[in-house]
């Protein structure tokens, strides 16, 4: 593939990726804790929550390609509500309470009360707590990366283990730490697909 394609944009006059990214990180992600608990309290299967949240993020990005919303918060929860209703209908979940609750704005407002932006000190404290809550090996690998700036190969040498092991621990640690930074529990999710599967195309 030619390098010039890198920055190529689709023909339609759309919000470009930089703006989309800025909107997503700056305005949507701070709502993540509220969105997560909104999903959790309106969906009976706890295991579905991450999947639903990811679907909602995807729909949000798709929904703003032509224009960014003026009120992100209400847009996010409208999309979330519609998605949950659609999923409920598809799963044939008989639940008028689900629908009724989702209709009420009070709940959304309530949930957003806990939303807040982290200042630098909060961020540091949070990063530190997140790091400390990782399992020991994972924590060490993340620390070598973030604090000492080692590459995976250097970390592997330092710790006397294979690069595969470092990669597995590091991606696991990244995911948990990011979840924690964004207000989640920071729980480790072990990849269900063994390390063999590469993201490379």
């Amino acid at each position: 593939m030619d390098r010039t394609e890198l920055g190529a944009e689709p023909a339609a006059p759309m919000i470009d990726d930089a703006a989309l990214n800025a909107w997503f990180c700056g305005q949507v992600l701070p709502l993540e804790p509220a969105l997560t608990s909104f999903i959790r309290s309106n969906w009976r299967i706890a295991e579905d929550v991450l999947e639903l949240r990811q679907d909602i993020y995807e729909r949000l990005l798709a929904g703003v390609r032509l224009e960014l919303p003026t009120n992100t918060k209400s847009f996010v929860f409208t999309v979330a509500r519609n998605h949950l209703i659609n999923q409920a209908v598809r799963a044939r979940i008989v639940s008028f309470e689900l629908v009724a609750d989702l209709e009420s704005d009070a709940q959304v407002t309530d949930l957003c009360a806990t939303e807040r932006h982290l200042d630098a000190r909060d961020q540091l404290r949070r990063a530190r707590d997140g790091l400390e809550s990782l399992p020991p090996r994972c924590r060490e690998v993340v620390r070598l990366r973030k604090v000492e700036g080692l590459t995976t190969k250097e970390a592997a040498e330092r710790l006397g283990v294979g690069v595969d092991t470092i990669e597995r621990q590091l991606t696991m640690g990244m995911r948990a730490l990011v979840d924690f930074m964004l207000g989640g529990s920071g729980k480790i999710v072990r990849p269900r697909f063994a390390g063999k599967r590469q993201a490379r195309l």
Binding site: F24, R44, S95, L159, V178, R192
Partner: protein
């Protein structure tokens, strides 16, 4: 598409992008991966953003408060897998020791919750018990026994594995024995309901100790024991999850009669729902409800079924 899988792929990209051998070809490959789906973008951007927020840990440097410098971590990273697992075992052993120190004699300790209450009790052996509304338990945990009596109500247990030492729950005339699992026990008079999330659970009839074990149930099973009989419901993880929805303050109904649904609500609230006539009692309801929100439930019944509501001080009567 599986969200966890996408997130893992995104994490792999992010990790590789930070490596010094990241090439224009890699960049192109990442670009096309991102272009393939907005789900990829969402997952990747989210990780990049959160990972960046964690950059501040770098400023901690070798702050002694974070992590003692290398020697200890070196030990747990010995290259041989066996050595690593020994180190792991040692670590667990230490934790266990430090946990055990404060364990006094096995004096039974009382714990309870009021109506509408919910409370988690960490036990000295590392296990956890979460009490639902109006529940009474006694615990006796020492070096050589781990026993709990569920005198009333419902509790969820997360039992720590401890060298094969059994953990025993007594409820009515049933004895539930586990090694290390997650499960819940509910007691209504002599009726005992056991739901298993993880692992295996053995249910014995304590009134007939010489008989063979009554039942061994595993994850996804719900057993209802009363008198001489033990009924095992069809295996359903969703069913078990529904049974445990109270841990989030939620009630789940699926073709439940209004009579039963009202009884469930009444467990959690001072305000009691009374059903005025038998026809109304038989109405089937389904859905997910907040256990504490009697008013919303009643309002919905009024709107959906046109039921009449008569409210008194601490009581709501519903009738057709």
């Amino acid at each position: 598409m599986n969200a966890s899988h996408i997130e893992q792929e995104a994490a792999e990209w992010l990790m590789r992008r930070e490596e010094p051998d990241w090439s224009p070809d890699d960049q192109n490959a990442l670009h096309s991966w991102l272009e393939r789906s907005l789900a990829h973008k969402a997952a990747y951007w989210r990780l990049v953003h959160g990972w960046q927020q964690a950059d501040r840990i770098a400023s901690l440097g070798l702050d002694p408060a974070t992590e003692p410098p290398s020697p200890r971590s070196k030990v747990s990273w010995l290259p041989v897998a066996a050595a690593a697992s020994i180190a792991g075992a040692l670590l667990v052993g230490n934790l266990e020791l430090s946990r055990r120190v404060p364990i006094a004699a096995a004096m039974p300790v009382h714990f309870s919750t009021p109506v509408g209450g919910r409370r988690t009790i960490p036990l000295l052996d590392g296990s956890k018990v979460e009490l639902n509304t109006a529940t009474v338990v006694r615990t006796a945990v020492s070096d050589n026994r781990r026993e709990i009596w569920l005198d009333q109500g419902e509790a969820y247990f997360e039992v720590a594995h401890l060298n094969g030492r059994p953990f025993i729950v007594h409820a009515a005339d049933r004895t539930v024995t586990v090694l290390g699992t997650k499960f819940s026990v509910r007691r209504e008079g002599d009726k005992v309901t056991v739901a298993v999330i993880e692992g295996r659970v053995r249910i014995d009839d304590a009134s007939k100790p010489d008989d063979v074990p009554t039942a061994i149930i595993t994850a996804g099973d719900v057993a209802i024991a009363e008198g001489a009989s033990t009924l095992l419901s069809a295996k359903s993880e969703q069913g078990v999850v529904a049974t445990l929805a109270w841990r989030d303050g939620i009630l789940n109904f699926d073709h439940t009669s209004l009579g039963d649904a009202a009884a469930e609500f009444n467990r959690y609230n001072g305000k009691q729902i009374v059903i005025g006539d038998s026809e109304t009692r038989e109405i089937r309801v389904g859905g997910t409800f907040q256990a504490s929100n009697v008013d919303a439930f009643v309002r919905l019944l009024h709107e959906a079924y046109g039921l009449h509501i008569a409210a008194k001080a601490n009581q709501v009567t519903l009738s057709s």
